[in-house]
């Protein structure tokens, strides 16, 4: 990358004495950036002046009461489903790692079925639970299934139980990432397996478990939109309801997208701080801007230093 000028004078030892450092210009990056900027501007222009998109309507509906309620339902769906998913995931992971064959097989079967069928299908299943079990209860005490499993309840059950299968694999991978010697040492000290899990294995596995759990949460925020097929009154449901009446399809979809983006952005920021707290390092966070700038500045200093030492003999 480094171009060297006036390198013709070379000493007997093969070391050049008359070198000048010239930083390589990243022409490729500059051209690519220019092309992308033009394309982006054209796209924005095409959308902004499009007579089919009524921009003022967008502003009107952005903070609409129904939209806000839908967003709040989406957030609640996300949080509750993730809580169910995480608790279930821990239980399933412990079952799968247990020495008890029945527990192991049960856990594997659960994961197999719930990961192997579409979550949309599971959602509709739970919604229609009353078709299989019109009433649920024990003995003479029973309730109408449709009263117990509301649309919101069906959505939470479907999303949470499905998430449990994915979280189980994440948690299991976390437990397995802790070196076997840690458990040996804990047992040798006189801790029971349960105590070893609690004080040694689980704390150490968190750094592996937390990053993908953050990703799952962000994914869940978007997956809740599937609940609109059972009219769970989430963000997408209310969006669809409004555009069914007003025909402002694109405008309302943009409104919904903005709120989904707000949600995922906040979740990402939360994830960043939680990961930092637990010293996680399993996801690649990309190049930091400060590192990039420092690298650009240092390259000259580095080359100059190399030159000065070269000339020192």
């Amino acid at each position: 990358m480094v171009k060297i000028k006036n390198a013709e004078k070379e000493t007997a030892s093969g070391v050049s004495t008359n070198l000048k450092y010239i930083k390589t210009k990243p022409w490729g990056s500059w051209i690519a950036a220019a092309i992308l900027a033009v394309l982006l501007a054209l796209l924005l222009w095409a959308v902004a002046v499009n007579p089919n998109i009524k921009w003022p309507k967008l502003g009107e509906y952005l903070f609409d009461k129904a939209i806000m309620q839908g967003f709040s339902i989406t957030i609640r769906l996300t949080i509750l489903s993730m809580v169910i998913g995480i608790v279930l995931g821990v239980i399933l992971a412990l079952m799968k790692l247990s020495t008890n064959t029945v527990l192991r097989v049960t856990s594997s079967a659960y994961i197999w079925v719930l990961r192997g069928t579409p979550v949309l299908v599971q959602l509709i299943f739970w919604y229609n639970m009353a078709l299989i079990f019109p009433r649920i209860g024990i003995g003479s005490f029973s309730l109408n299934t449709n009263h117990v499993i509301t649309t919101f309840g069906a959505a939470i059950l479907a999303l949470g139980l499905n998430e449990g299968a994915y979280m189980a694999e994440i948690v299991r991978a976390g437990f397995l990432s802790v070196a076997r010697g840690q458990m040996d040492a804990a047992l040798a000290t006189g801790l029971t397996r349960r105590q070893a899990m609690r004080y040694i294995i689980i704390p150490q596995s968190l750094r592996v478990i937390i990053p993908p759990t953050g990703n799952q949460t962000i994914g869940m925020l978007k997956t809740t939109s599937l609940a609109s097929v059972i009219a769970a009154q989430d963000l997408l449901t209310v969006t669809e309801n409004i555009y069914a009446k007003t025909f402002l399809v694109i405008e309302l979809l943009i409104v919904a997208s903005i709120w989904y983006l707000v949600g995922t952005t906040i979740a990402s920021i939360g994830q960043y701080f939680i990961e930092r707290k637990f010293g996680a390092g399993s996801t690649t966070t990309g190049v930091k801007m400060s590192d990039f700038l420092r690298e650009r500045m240092l390259s000259s200093t580095r080359a100059l230093s190399a030159l000065s030492y070269l000339n020192k003999e």
């Binding site: 070196a179 010697g181 840690q182 040996d184 040492a185 804990a186 047992l187 040798a188 000290t189 006189g190 801790l191 029971t192 397996r193 349960r194 105590q195 004080y199 040694i200 704390p203 150490q204």
Partner: protein
């Protein structure tokens, strides 16, 4: 050293799948005695120590600790497998030091030592930390009490691991090649701690490649090969004048 036998192995056998790793091992460790085990790699030394600590179950034979069967409890005329808690309370009496230290990575040196007394014996955080301080002082690492394992050298980690095992006030200490993962210049500090322990009268079962340590500190030397005790005797005598051909060959490769 008393005549009381603390640990005894009678005809112990252990296999992994089809591979028989220990094939009829007999051994006695008296109270206060330091027994050193040497032998070629793969001879089953680590496996035997893990069996003694009940981290592995033996397939045949019997292990006796203070005359009681390891792994079983007697209820009148009925013999039952130990449950989790019986196994744990047995392991409290048997300290173990591993080749790769196995310090808890999520805890400081102090917490590593204090966690056992705190969780197993229900000591208060303050009392357990007091104990940790005394033990870290003993292994010469009081200034590292707040360091994490990743901030310690191998030798320091191993000394913390010894302190951690001692915190449970064990009646016997098992050492599995405690120095073989260390750089040569760090071996001495760990051996010194082990030597001090032996002098204080701790009962020790030491798997080691340090022939010098075995000669100087050991009361009994055992040469273990292919899962059996191939030769046993006084360390000095055995090292200078091995009777078994395989002991002779082994010693010539390590001396």
């Amino acid at each position: 050293m008393s005549d009381k036998i603390l640990l005894e192995a009678r005809g112990v056998e252990k296999s992994f799948g089809h591979i028989k790793v220990i094939r009829g091992l007999d051994l006695k460790v008296r109270e206060g005695e330091t027994v050193c085990i040497i032998g070629p790699s793969g001879g089953g030394k680590s496996t035997f120590l893990r069996c003694v600590n009940f981290l592995e179950k033996i397939d045949r034979g019997a292990l006796l600790f203070k005359g009681q069967l390891v792994g079983y409890s007697k209820h009148g005329s009925i013999l039952r497998d130990w449950n989790e808690h019986e196994a744990a309370s047995y392991r409290v009496k048997v300290g173990m030091v591993f080749q790769h230290f196995n310090l808890y990575n999520n805890m400081t040196a102090g917490a590593n030592v204090a966690i056992g007394p705190r969780v197993v014996n229900g000591e208060s955080q303050g009392k357990a930390m007091e104990r940790a301080k005394i033990l870290l002082e003993k292994v010469g690492l009081i200034e590292k009490i707040n360091s994490y394992p990743s901030q310690l050298s191998g030798g320091q980690q191993q000394r913390v691991a010894i302190a951690r095992a001692l915190a449970m006030e064990p009646e016997i200490m098992l050492f599995d090649e405690a120095t073989s993962a260390l750089d040569p210049e760090l071996v001495g500090e760990v051996l010194q701690v082990m030597k001090d322990l032996a002098t204080e009268g701790m009962t020790m079962l030491v798997v080691t490649h340090e022939i010098g340590f075995a000669r100087q500190v050991g009361d009994t030397l055992i040469f273990m090969d292919q899962g059996v005790v191939a030769e046993k005797g006084d360390p000095k005598e055995m090292i200078s004048n091995p009777k078994c051909q395989r002991t002779k060959e082994f010693l010539s490769t390590v001396l």
